[in-house]
């Protein structure tokens, strides 16, 4: 090693210069921000619950059941999603549909999100485009396992996310979690 490197002092000062430069640059931006220049950002931090980054349109978020025009589920209880699901978290109970042109309908469609691995196979497998993962909702934690079970009615009530990825419907709050 050269003597300059062994003395280490020059490297110390170049390091201090780097961090001090960051400090003063960010400090200046913070001050400018406080003085009204709202485009000046002193930090790259995204203040999560209040600020959100836009989600990718490909994001796989909470499932929803797509409705027909009359509001009934498009699901025909073909069991494709239940079969393909690697986590086996979808439970479908089939029933007769009053319309003879539609073979079946789901009487119950339950997803246990505590087991779901968000692989998206159910969406890919569905021949009717009846299940999608485009709600943009990611926060659906619960204090109990029962709170993670989403029924047909809950899944039918969800809307797709907007173009910026923001949820189009309120986040369903499980019964064991008071807001």
């Amino acid at each position: 090693m050269k003597l300059v490197q062994r003395v280490y002092l020059r490297e110390v000062f170049s390091g201090l210069g780097l961090t001090a430069r960051h400090f003063f640059r960010n400090m200046g931006r913070h001050v400018a921000h406080a003085l009204g220049r709202k485009d000046a950002r002193g930090a790259v931090t995204v203040q999560y619950p209040e600020e959100r980054r836009p989600y990718s349109p490909r994001l796989r978020s909470l499932h929803r059941l797509v409705r027909r025009e009359d509001g009934s589920p498009r699901c025909v209880a073909c069991m494709m999603c239940e079969t393909v699901c690697p986590a086996r978290c979808i439970y479908i109970v089939a029933a007769e549909h009053p319309n003879p042109e539609i073979e079946k309908v789901c009487r119950e469609f339950t997803i246990d999100l505590g087991k779901c691995v968000f692989c998206g196979y159910c969406v890919e497998a569905c021949p009717e485009d009846a299940i999608r993962m485009d709600t943009g909702i990611l926060e659906f934690s619960s204090y109990s396992r029962e709170g993670m079970i989403y029924t047909k009615e809950m899944l039918l009530a969800l809307e797709p996310a907007g173009p910026d990825g923001r949820p189009g419907s309120p986040v369903p709050i499980p019964p064991d979690r008071t807001p």
Binding site: L9, V12, G15, L16, L18, T19, A20, H22, F23, N26, M27, H30, G42, A43, V44, T45, Q47
Partner: protein, 365 residues
């Protein structure tokens, strides 16, 4: 003897100022540490603690920390020496607190026929007192390491002792040059002597007359605070250190002691090398600039300016120490020992010789 009561009051006021100054700075440093490191690293830092929705830039976090620490369980290891174990954090904090006492924060104030030295303790050997207190502080750490009945804690205490000896030797030897130049061990005299002008314009601050000693003192001083880059006693990534077994406010006191030591070291650096309470060209009667301009000021305003200058210098110095702490990676144990004994110590001896030769040659005093 009516004067006695006023004297007691003044003495108490001096002590109270120093105590509150050091304690508040020490408490604020937890906030400074979080926020400054965040700003240096393009982050925002802790800002969530709030009272009635007021966050005031995360300033409530030290308060939240204190409440958390106070309400946590106080855990005693089964085989710990309970007396020493409880005593250790207090010893640590106590010596860090009292060390600041002989650092002057202003020139002697003359009010109503009284002379009030703006210094908690007027001492002829102020420098030695600060050293003594700083080195005694390591006893708390050693006690903690010994009494915890934990091998890692013991290793931490042993490292702290070794580091403290290394740092103290270098600090002591690097200070000798300053003492030689200003000819006194009294902190007040040293600061006053730094008000002189070299060549009529350059303030005779320690950093000008003793640049090498400044670097050596600062390095050894950072080592004495046991913080990164010299945090081998803690060594979070290898041994957790002398406070492994501590919890609650006792742990908080150890952290506090490190912060207080940082305040003391910056106070020392300011007093010895950065002119203490001196403002360049400020004489007791007002500003006297070398270009023959004068601004007359009343005595009280001069004193206030001096105290303000001292506080500002200490705060800037703390900022600088924080900058170092958040920039440099830590030294390994053997690297720190090598730096102390083969780097700082011989250099500070050389500094003494050089200073002596210079004083002999030019006879400057």
């Amino acid at each position: 003897m009516t004067a006695t009561l006023a004297d007691v009051g003044i003495a108490l006021g001096r002590v109270a100022f120093v105590m509150l100054f050091v304690l508040n700075l020490g408490g604020l440093m937890t906030w400074v540490e979080r926020k400054q490191s965040a700003i240096m690293q393009d982050r925002i830092g802790a800002n969530r603690a709030s009272i009635f929705g007021f966050r005031i830039m995360g300033l409530l976090h030290p308060l939240a920390d204190a409440i958390k620490m106070l309400t946590k369980e106080e855990f005693y290891p089964a085989r710990a020496d309970r007396v020493l174990f409880s005593l250790a954090p207090f010893v640590s904090v106590f010596f860090a607190l009292v060390a600041f006492a002989s650092i002057p924060f202003g020139d002697t104030l003359r009010v109503a026929g009284r002379e009030v030295p703006l210094q908690a303790l007027t001492f002829n050997v102020g420098i030695l007192y600060v050293f003594a207190m700083l080195s005694l502080g390591v006893y708390g750490v050693m006690m903690a390491g010994w009494s915890s009945a934990n091998n890692y804690a013991l290793l931490g205490g042993q490292r702290a002792a070794a580091l403290m000896i290394t740092a103290e030797v270098a600090i002591g030897a690097s200070i000798v040059g300053v003492v030689m130049v200003y000819g006194s061990l009294n902190m007040m005299d040293i600061v006053r002597a730094q008000g002189a002008l070299l060549g009529g314009w350059l303030p005779k601050w320690g950093i000008v007359t003793q640049p090498l000693a400044f670097v050596l003192f600062l390095t050894a001083g950072i080592a004495a605070t046991k913080r990164i880059p010299f945090d081998m006693p803690e060594g979070e990534s290898e041994i957790i250190g002398y406070f492994v077994e501590y919890s609650g406010m006792k742990f908080g006191l150890f952290v506090m002691a490190d912060f207080l030591e940082t305040v003391v070291i910056s106070g020392m650096t300011v007093s010895l090398f950065l002119g203490g309470w001196q403002i360049p060209y400020l004489e007791p009667a007002g500003f006297v600039f070398p270009w023959d301009a004068t601004v007359a000021l009343p005595g009280l305003a001069v004193s206030l300016l001096q105290v303000g200058a001292f506080v500002l210098k200490v705060v800037v110095m703390i900022w600088f120490l924080m900058l170092i702490r958040w920039t440099l990676p830590r030294f390994r144990y053997d690297q720190a020992m090598r730096l102390g004994w083969l780097g700082l110590f011989p250099l500070s001896i050389a500094n003494i010789v050089l200073t002596g030769a210079a004083l002999l040659l030019w006879g400057a005093r």
